[in-house]
Each structure stands twice: as C-alpha cells, then as structure tokens.
Symmetry: C2
Subunit: 491 residues, 2 copies
C-alpha cells in the first residue's frame, strides 16, 4: 500500500533553489528543506538547561538540548528552535531519522503496547510470539548465522560474545564436552584457575568495543576512556592504516595488510605458547570511533583463516556499521568471507542489541548466558517496523546512491582544498574525511554546526558521517554546499 507521505510536497526555500532544484522529493512528509538557525549553537535555552543537568551529573559532553516533538526526518530541532541537518543521528542509532510515521505507529497497536509495558524476563517467561519475532524479525536479517541471542546494549553483546568464545574454547579441550571437574567448580567461585581460566581476547589498535571493563580492555581508541580503569591484560594487534586513494596505493596497502596479519599470527602463536591462548578475536568492519579506518576484504579473509587455524572465535562487531549503513545489511558482507564469522554483534540502529552466532557459539548448558531481561521486546517491535520501511522504500539502494554522491562530493572537496583535507574513505554512508590537524577538524565541526550541519568526529582528525538511511541526494547537496563554504572561509 503506497503511503501518502512518500509523495509529499517538496517545499523549496529561496536560498537553496539551486540545490533543491536537482533533488527528488523527501521520503518524510513535512520534512524541512534546509537548516534554519535562530541562535548560535548551543543557544541560550540549551545553555540554561546545561547548567541544570550538570548539577545532576557530568554533562560536559552535551552539545545541545533537542526538541523531539519538532524534529523530523533528517532534521533535528534544538531547544532554541534551530533546525539542524543531522548527519550523525544520535551516534549512528536512528535508521529512519526523527518521528518516522512507521515508528510512531508501532505502539498505537494495543498488542504491541502490552508487549512494551509488560516487559518480561525473556529467558524465563517470554511472550507467545517471542520465538516468531526472533525468527521473522531478527533471523530474517541474519548474516547467514542460524542463532540469535538478544541483550540490552552493544557493550553487553560484546561481553557475552567473549563469554561464548571462552566456553567454546574450553569445551573443545574437554572430554566429553560439558564435563566440569570438581576443581573447576570450586576454583571458579574465587576467580581462580582452572575454573576461571587465563584465556584472552585479541583486539586491534584504535578499536572501540564498549566501556564495560572487559570490552574496555579490547578498546584502544582514546586514553581518556581507559585511564585508571582496571583491565584484562589482553593482547592488541595493529589495524591496517591505509594510504589514500586506495587505487593509487594498492601495493603499499597490501603490504600493510600482510604486516598486520603477521603480527596477529605472532600474537596467536606466542599467547598459545605462553598458556594464555586467544579464545576470541574481535574486530569492527570499519573502525568507527577510532578514525573510520577500513581494512580490505583480503585482510578480513586472511584474518578469518588465522582465527580458525588457532581455534579462536571471530567476532565481527557491527554495532555501529550494521543495519544497512554500508549499503548492505551488514558491513562485513562486503568482504566475501568464505563462511560467516562465528559471532556478529549488533545494537544502535537495530534498537535491540545482541548477537548472531553459530551452533558452536550456542551455550549447551542453561544459565551460562543469561540475565534478567535478555533484551527488550519493545525494541524488537521498533526494529520490525524499521525493517519493513527499509524494504518498502528500498533504503539499502538509497544508501548506496546517497553514499556515492557524498563520497564523490568529498573527493571533489579534497581536490579543491587539498591543503585542508585528505583520505576520503568509507562504504555506503559510513564515510569520513581527514583534516590536516586535530585543531582544524574541531574548527570545521564547529563551523559546520553554526551553518546548521551536525557531523561527528572520529580518531584524532577525522570528520565522520553517520546519517540515517533516509538521507537523500538533496540532503547530501546541502551538506556538501555548506562544507565547501566553511572550507572557503577557513582558507
């Protein structure tokens, strides 16, 4: 059934005639056609609210306060009525932008409302339709993995992925699998081996996997995240650092892959010898927080082979990259892996968090992977609505198209301002470009915001785009246009 709002009326503001003339109509009826600022950002209302909030908790990270009644589509409206084009979308969590009609409808359905307010302990008293939701909503978009376990957030999903790797590793050493010795049962109660074994998780330089203490031990993006925090002494390998454009540096980048893989193999070998074997390897398809760093399909293919060779589970962390932002449902699907990873974790745009997994990574005994809530049915209902819109509106195609437009535009800007920008990179709309210095990056982000464009930072000097899947060409045009004018001012 075609929805009226898909063919919504295109309003054209005077000052954007040139840009909008080229654009097709918005997917969201009534969406603003351009940013519109009334004050600087943050404005006086945001500044006042900031003071209130900072008395209650550390609020120094707040950029502005928002009005979620007025925000719509790709535009967020702040507490001072500034209308901002949002290419960062709540740290990559909003697939359909703000107030999408399909999202607003979900809880008008009484059955769904009951599922929301009667939130069960899903591992003990799930609702009658929970198995069907797991199958028809979640497994329906699984990257070829037959099992799924839901959790509350990305960090918890990665924590449980680690646990699955530890169990699988130890189970392979047991004869028969699942037989625990009395010594194991007693020693684990006081955190001692053999019950609490000295297994490790291998992660990569600049990786980000969460901020609980175990996922933080696998995170290596910024010191301020890790200072003073007790950590597991787990190993870290170099993540490839490529030269751009990729076409020009094929040989050099391929050597970089080999160097990093050699280090991975060395660690796997040394840690096995040292009786601290690597039970799991965790990696992002594109390092997001750590600098939007890509690695090649070849790198991932060889990494998977090494993981198998040394008996380590391969965990692909798709918390930020999953749910369509790469133009495929899962970013690692661009890598043509021989077989699926052992575990793929998700959260953010998926609303519900959790992980897809192989049969081997499924707990054999009860209560080993368990907690009170085991996720939240309300979030799966939102995901169900999101996936329907993705399909109906062919949003994966739109992401490819808008992503291409954005990437070409960034490359053009890079050529035009080669003394300010470099290394445009990414897949789909998971894009970034480097500024020559961290100071310049911060300045550009600030200027963009004062022109009504919200982007994110990443690594030390990257500008990161993480728009909604409903970002269209006209939005890309506005962004590129304003980015150019910012760079012109700086120049």
């Amino acid at each position: 059934m075609p929805r009226a709002w898909i063919t919504a009326f295109l309003r054209t503001p005077l000052h954007l005639n040139k840009v909008i003339a080229r654009s097709s109509c918005s997917l969201i009826p009534g969406e603003p056609t351009a940013p519109c600022l009334k004050t600087e950002i943050p404005g006086p209302n945001s500044k006042r609210l900031f003071k209130e909030m900072n008395c209650i908790q550390q609020a120094g990270t707040v950029q502005f306060f928002a009005n979620y009644d007025k925000s719509l589509g790709n535009y967020i409206v702040d507490a001072d009525e500034n209308v901002i084009l949002d290419l960062y979308m709540q740290i990559a969590t909003m697939p359909l932008g703000y107030n999408h009609p399909a999202m607003l409808e979900v809880f008008c359905d009484k059955h769904n409302l009951h599922a929301l307010v009667n939130r069960p302990a899903l591992g003990v008293y799930p609702s009658e339709d929970w198995p069907r939701k797991l199958r028809d909503v979640l497994l329906n978009v699984s990257p070829r993995l037959p099992h799924v376990t839901t959790m509350m957030c990305g960090a918890c999903s990665n924590e449980n992925a680690f646990k699955q790797c530890f169990m699988a590793y130890r189970n392979r050493e047991r004869c028969p699998p699942g037989s625990f010795t009395e010594e194991e049962k007693t020693s684990c109660m006081t955190n001692c081996p053999p019950g609490s074994p000295d297994l490790t998780i291998l992660s990569f330089q600049n990786a980000f996997h969460g901020r609980t203490l175990a996922t933080l031990s696998a995170t290596h993006s910024k010191a301020i995240h890790k200072l003073d925090m007790v950590a597991f002494k787990w190993p870290m390998a170099r993540f490839p650092q490529y030269c751009y454009p990729l076409d020009e540096f094929k040989c050099k980048n391929s050597e970089e892959d080999e160097k990093c893989l050699a280090q991975v193999e060395d660690i796997l070998c040394q840690y096995k010898k040292g009786n601290r074997p690597v039970a799991g390897i965790i990696i992002e398809p594109i390092q997001s927080e750590g600098g939007n760093n890509e690695a090649s399909p070849c790198f991932f293919q060889k990494l998977q082979k090494l993981a198998k060779q040394y008996g380590a589970g391969l965990i692909i962390d798709e918390v930020q990259t999953g749910c369509g932002a790469s133009g495929k449902m899962w970013c690692h699907e661009h890598f043509n892996l021989e077989c699926p990873p052992d575990i793929v974790t998700f959260a953010k745009k998926m609303q519900i968090s959790g992980y897809f997994h192989t049969e081997e990574m499924t707990a054999k005994e009860t209560y080993r992977i368990f907690n009170t809530w085991m996720g939240d049915p309300g979030k799966v209902l939102l995901l169900e609505a999101i996936l329907k819109v993705i399909q109906k509106d062919n949003l994966l195609c739109l992401v490819q198209k808008t992503g291409q437009k954005l990437k070409c535009g960034l490359l053009e800007l890079e050529r035009e301002f080669c003394f300010l920008l470099d290394s445009t990179r990414g897949i789909g709309t998971l894009l970034a470009v480097n500024c020559t210095t961290p100071q310049l990056r911060d300045e550009v982000l600030k200027c963009l915001k004062q022109k009504g464009i919200q982007c994110g930072g990443s690594g030390t000097r990257s500008i990161r785009l993480r728009p909604a899947l409903i970002l269209q060409e006209q939005h890309a045009d506005i962004f590129l246009d304003r980015f150019r004018s910012v760079l012109q001012c700086i120049k």
Copy 2:
C-alpha cells in the same frame, strides 16, 4: 482524582470463599480472584513454543510462554490459558504487576511517544525535559545522594560504579587531582600499569552483581555462572550466615557479624600492603540470588566505617531490593547508616537502570563515564507513572502490611511443618523460607506451580518471594493456603 478501578468489583470464586471473604477489594479492576489451571504447566502450547525457541537460542531456562494481553495485576496468564498468581514477577522487575492502567496510559501521550521512538544519545543530545526528569523523577527518590547517572541494565550500572571507584581512588593519590602523566596515558592504551592500575573490588560470598565479566568477578552465587569465564582476581569476604529466628540467636549472629567484618578488614589491609588496594566494596542489602541472606544494620554500619577508613567506595547494589519492595524505597534505608553509601545502583523495578552517587563519585572529566545511549528515556517515563501510583495508592505501606502477613504466615507454616521448613526471613515482601534439602525445594516449587502459584528459587534450598508492590492480603492468603496444601501432600 480517585480512579474508578480502585473500587473495582470483587469477584469471589466458589472454592475460595473462605479466603476471599476476609480480603479487601483488588487494586486492579478486573483482576482474577484466584489461579485457574486448564493444563499442567508448561502446557502443550508452551511445549510447542519451547521447541521453536530452542532452535534459535539456548531456551532451557524458559518455564512457560505468557500471554501479556490477558495477564492482569498479580496474575500472569500463560499460552495455555492457565491463570497463575505471580509472586516472582519477572525476577522482581514488575512493581505494578501486569497491564496496570497507569502504565498503559504513558504512551498514549504524544509527547511521551516521541520521547520513546526518538531515543537520543542522552549524553550528547538530551531532550529539553531530560534535566527535569532526572531531577523530578529520579533524584526525587534518591537515598540522600545528590547525583544520578543512568545506564541500560543492572550489570552496566555496577560496571560503571566500579569505574567511579577506580577513578575516585586514583584521583585521591594524584597531585593535583585530574593530572595524568604521559606514562599513564600511554600505558593504559595497552592495558598496562600505571595507566591501567591493579586496583580491586571486594565482594561477598554468595553475592550476585551481574554477568558481564567484571560484575561476574564480584559474583559468587553459583558455579555454572562462572565456569570458563575469565575473571579479575578480586577478593571475596564471607557474608554473614545467620541462625533463625533472629531473636533467639542474637548473640551468635552478632559474633557472626564480627567474624565477617574481621575478614573484611584483614582483606582491606592485606590488599593494601600487597599493592592491590581495594577501591570499592560492593554488597546487596539482602543477597537475593545467593539465598535471600540478610545482614544486620550493625554489620552494614561497621562495614561503612571500614570502607571509609581504607578509602574504598561503598556500593550498595539495590538492583533487586530497591523501588519499594522492602517497605521503604531503598532496602538499605532500614540500616540507619550514618551517611549515605557512596553509590547506590538500581535497575529491575525501576525500569531504568543506573546509580545514585556522591559528588566524589562524579566524573570530573568528560567522556570517562559515557556510552551511546546512557539509559532510555522511555523507561524513565514508565518509572514516573510507577512512582505516582506508589504514592497515590500508598504502596510502601501496603508492602509492609502484606509483607507482615506473608512473613507471619510463613512462620506459622514453619512451625506446622518444622521437619520441612526453616529460617523464614526478610524485610517487606523480600521474603524467603528454606526447605530442608535442595530436592525438596525444587519439588515444592514444582507443586506450587501446578497449583497456580509462581515463586522463585534462591541459593541452594530457599523459596524466594518477589511479588509486585500491589500484592494484597487476599493474594497472600491464597499463596499461604496453597503452600500449606502442597506441604500437606508432601508430608
């Protein structure tokens, strides 16, 4: 404004005339008046659904599938139309039972619906009314602590409580506070000291604080939770094990307190000497998963003194005990502590998770306590409705009254069946009674379920009650009546 449903019509089933004759009317209009079974539990529909779910994930913990459209008040209806009186309430998470009118109303409000579907990154782009919600909803019920930080689940709240303790401990050693050395900044990136220090968290035997790897290191209730899991080598002290009734064993139990406190002091001292100082002590006011174990106000008062003396933060984990179930908002308020604990964590009945904290336990720098979502505004809106009902219907008083009734009834049964039951204990409705053996406990729980009563287990041989705050005398009567008949059959 008095609601019509408070004076709802009392329906009286024939076979319960004797019991119901004494009861007042239900707080929930249309609530069933008694359990009503059509099949054994789990019935054929639950069994069929179990098979479906077990293909997708480890589902061995599922007791039955529920119909959340039909469940109401204290009664859960399963997939086979069995009506069960629920004294366990989704592992203690449902303060107002099922489908409470006030909960169903929350998202009929459009502003609230927008807050639900436009879920922001609360640390960066909170809504205009977020500071007010933090203050008027959360701080309004704070146990004398001026700050609150929200999270996604109980385990994440405890993880971040640990982080606060580590930061506070290290900050006290720094001169000036907040000045990080270059060595710290570099070493933390590879999980090495001094940036990643060797601080510890002290927890107690039989404690349960979560299943992420750090909280699991502070959890010591069952081996199956911990086997094969990598753990921090943190210390554990004995939690008091009392003899019951408390009045009869005052002297012995007081000696038990002193023994346990001596061990705590010994650990604090030894770990400081061993350069692995204890930065935080985490404890439940009543150990829930580990056996519904109580400790005296005196024990907690002295524990707080020791924590202060050795510079460790005192974390009271109120995830299961908070939000009114003890007859006070927070269970530790029964202990008359000289000053508030450093941190009080919450989740479950509160819907939103997080922790209240002192000024010292507030991060001074940005991005040290941070994650994408930092909680969920939709859950705070539900909590707001819950707290209004708690106040309006005077539910803390009801908990005291129903709790007293339940406890007296359990003590009576204990006298009547002294060869089957012992050690009735607890505060408010956070109650438990022991069976003489684990096998008997499991048998009793099974029989109770076949009589339409859902309770929980705890420790090795305890029956645990964790009902909603709306449990009334008539529900207590039904439970006690059926418990007696189960015990009579077993006898």
